[in-house]
């Protein structure tokens, strides 16, 4: 719940605890997620590296092209970070936007010892530069894999308003581990896209409860697609990132094989389920229909009890 009104200046930790990750801008998320004052941006807005393609469509540009990348510290340890701004063109991947993340991951591969945090907030490929965006995502997926193979931990944090859709969902699937909050969504096709292509009978995009129980943070956690569920605060995501950095191990073929087994098992167990509530029921949750209403602490206890995770299997 929202904190009482501010009295004077708040300390950063206090602000991180009271600031909604979902509501915060990309810059605010980084400022409060990292150790105070530790963030250093690469190619900041003053460099004005805007998209070269938006003017073709007579659309406004943003100086950072909707992504903030740089380095900072988390509990004293160095991290590389990237945060998408979901409000600028839906956080979508364009040429410059994507290339910043590619460069960051390539550096991480060479450094080997410094982890990467990706704060996703994206609808996927930016329509106006679709080919460049799609290719950037392919390059990012490749770069994530190369970095992980070199020993880098790549953690995805998902709780922004644009969710993590399209190619963003595929990149998330390449990460070492994911933390997600209730408003966070992970999917490939967006609700409107499914409805447009397959009809409202297949998916009613205005039924937001349906959207969230199909793609939202709680479902992804119960499926084991995300390893940590956090309350929607920046501090929650900071704690989640620290936890995940602690548990992620080295990458190799065994992980890939384990993931094959994990996903095949999911298909076998839940492939016939029509709705998320059926899946949760099949997972042994009594009153599964109440899951969306559970407060964060109760839900976390429930998810931990179910125990489904992608740890060592992604």
């Amino acid at each position: 719940m929202t904190a009482p009104i501010k009295h004077g200046v708040q300390f950063p930790a206090e602000r991180a605890r009271t600031t909604s990750f979902n509501e915060a801008s990309a810059r605010m998320r980084l400022e409060l997620l990292l150790d105070a004052g530790s963030f250093l941006e690469f190619i900041g807005p003053e460099q004005r590296e805007v998209s070269p393609h938006l003017k073709i469509f007579d659309l406004p540009e943003q100086f950072d092209d909707g992504i903030v990348v740089g380095r900072g510290r988390l509990d004293g340890a160095p991290v590389l970070v990237a945060a998408q701004e979901g409000r600028f063109m839906g956080g979508a991947f364009g040429e410059v936007h994507g290339a910043k993340l590619v460069g960051l991951l390539r550096a991480a591969r060479e450094i080997e010892s410094i982890p990467v945090l990706i704060l996703f907030d994206t609808g996927g490929v930016r329509l106006q530069e679709a080919n460049a965006g799609e290719l950037a995502i392919a390059e990012i997926m490749r770069a994530v894999m190369e970095a992980r193979t070199a020993g880098v931990k790549v953690i995805g944090l998902i709780g922004g308003r644009s969710g993590c859709y399209g190619g963003g969902g595929l990149i998330a699937g390449c990460c070492s581990a994911l933390a997600v909050s209730e408003p966070g969504r992970i999917a490939v096709s967006g609700p409107e896209v499914i409805e447009t292509n397959r009809g409202v009978e297949e998916f009613d995009s205005r039924d937001r409860a349906l959207v969230w129980r199909t793609m939202g943070g709680k479902h992804r956690r119960l499926l084991g697609a995300a390893d940590v569920f956090t309350d929607d605060t920046v501090q929650g995501f900071r704690d989640a990132a620290l936890r995940l950095l602690d548990v992620v191990g080295p990458y190799g073929l065994d992980k890939l094989k384990a993931e094959q087994i994990r996903l095949a098992d999911r298909l076998r167990s839940f492939g016939a389920c029509e709705d998320a509530v059926d899946i949760w029921t099949a997972e042994g949750i009594v009153h599964a229909e109440d899951v969306p209403e559970l407060p964060a602490d109760q839900f976390i206890a429930l998810a931990d009890n179910i125990g489904r995770t992608s740890r060592d299997a992604r």
Partner: protein, 560 residues
Amino acid sequence: MLMSIDAETRTTAATWQRHREARDARIEAGSRLARGKIVEARDATRLMEAVIRPGDRVCLEGDNQKQADLLSGALLAVDLAKVHDLHMVQSGVVLPEHLDLFDHGVAKKLDYAYSGPQSARIARMLFGGKIELGAVHTYLELFARYFIDLTPHVALIAAVSADREGNLYTGPNTEDTPTVVEATAFKDGVVIAQVNEIVDRVPRVDIPADRVHFIVKSEKPFFVEPLFTRDPAAITEGQILTAMLAIKGIYAPYGVQRLNHGIGFSTAAIELLLPTFGEKLGLKGKIATHFALNPHPALIPAIEAGWVQQIHSFGSEVGMDDYIRARSDIYFTGPDGSLRSNRAFCQTAGLYACDMFIGSTLQIDLQGNSSTVTTSRIAGFGGAPNMGADARGRRHPSEPWLKAGSEADPDSPAALRRGRKLVVQIGETFGDKNVPLFVEKLDALELAEKLKLELAPIMIYGDDVTHIVTEEGIANLLLCRNAHEREQAIRGVAGYTDVGRRRDRNAVELLRQRGVIRRPEDLGINPLDADRSMLAARSIKDLVRWSGGLYAPPSKFRNW
């Protein structure tokens, strides 16, 4: 002679109950389709044809929120040879079918109050001559005319359940039903109700059975729209700033306790600032304690924080049922525990028992007249003009009322001076798509010319408006002594709109020195402090948490 007098008296006596006889004939015709009072849904159209006569005045409910959708569909399907040229008298023109009736020729004339979602189409049909317009009313005004010259011959109403005798339970959305039934049933009209279910015993009797002639069970619950839910996530910093100004610059100094809020985001921001900003100002218990108001979800934090003592409602709001039931100290509830709303009573309460109305509008002119009409949309008046008007019949004193009266007329002797209701227009200088709030000439005037209306559709007349609040500050029109001051006071808070930029800077500065205009800094408010972190709830989910899980928002407002 005696013989002839006797004969005349007899014939006269017979003709004095023609209406009752006609009503009985209609009921007789309809009864052939009924078992008791119950008519199958598939026979609903035949019931209409049996009961309704060409040219009848028909009230098709048609409220602000709930809709007798089964009956409107049934009426639309009548044989035009049997039913045509109806005169529709209904407060809400909300469903597409309400206007289809005119396209098909079932109905010809319309008297109404509010057209919300149909505002664009109703404008086109009025321009195209498809509808013969009686008048656009306020709710209270239309209800009044139900009892004078627009009494319905047939009322088609909606309720949650009925028992076999015809007692009706309306559920929390009682709204207009008692008023419509009162006017129809006691003046020889026929009342037909659609219900979601027929039960052995209704939870409470909202409408007694002897006022109900036919019951039709609908397959699906009647349509009801969540009109009063404002997602806190959509409230902007500008709206927060105007809300802060209103609380500190109007609620606090006048000590406004009894009031009505409009449905915009600015008033939602006020509701969400009470437990934070209001608390900090020490205003709890001193302002905003009694409301004439629908059950706004945005008011939940203030209720939970102990600000609100009592709320009477026009209608209900989707998702609020359990919360209301659990907070009967605050709301009006029946013996069954659910909300009892009543639009007519609540409108009266808003008019006579409230010291303030605060709401948004689309256009304000230099005299302070406001309108929600644009050239392509006629949304109707609804209830705002009753809320936002000085009640000339009011006689009881109260602090805000007397203070406003003395500001308006400082020179009259206090004992002979009328008080004034505070009528506050709140909004941002530019609305959606950069459309200015302030204009030199209202679109409503253009519309009146085009439609040859005798009255331009003014929502709130300038002489009723006491304050205008924008992000630029507060204009107190009570303190203006002539038309020029009034105009400059309005220009002074009109920001960068054309109206605002044409202000006389010196005149505005003088008004500011007199306190007629008060800027944020005059009230000790730094616009940079207007931050979303001040809202007691920043999302629908926060409202659910405040309610302890009792508020169950409709799916379209969820992000979980």
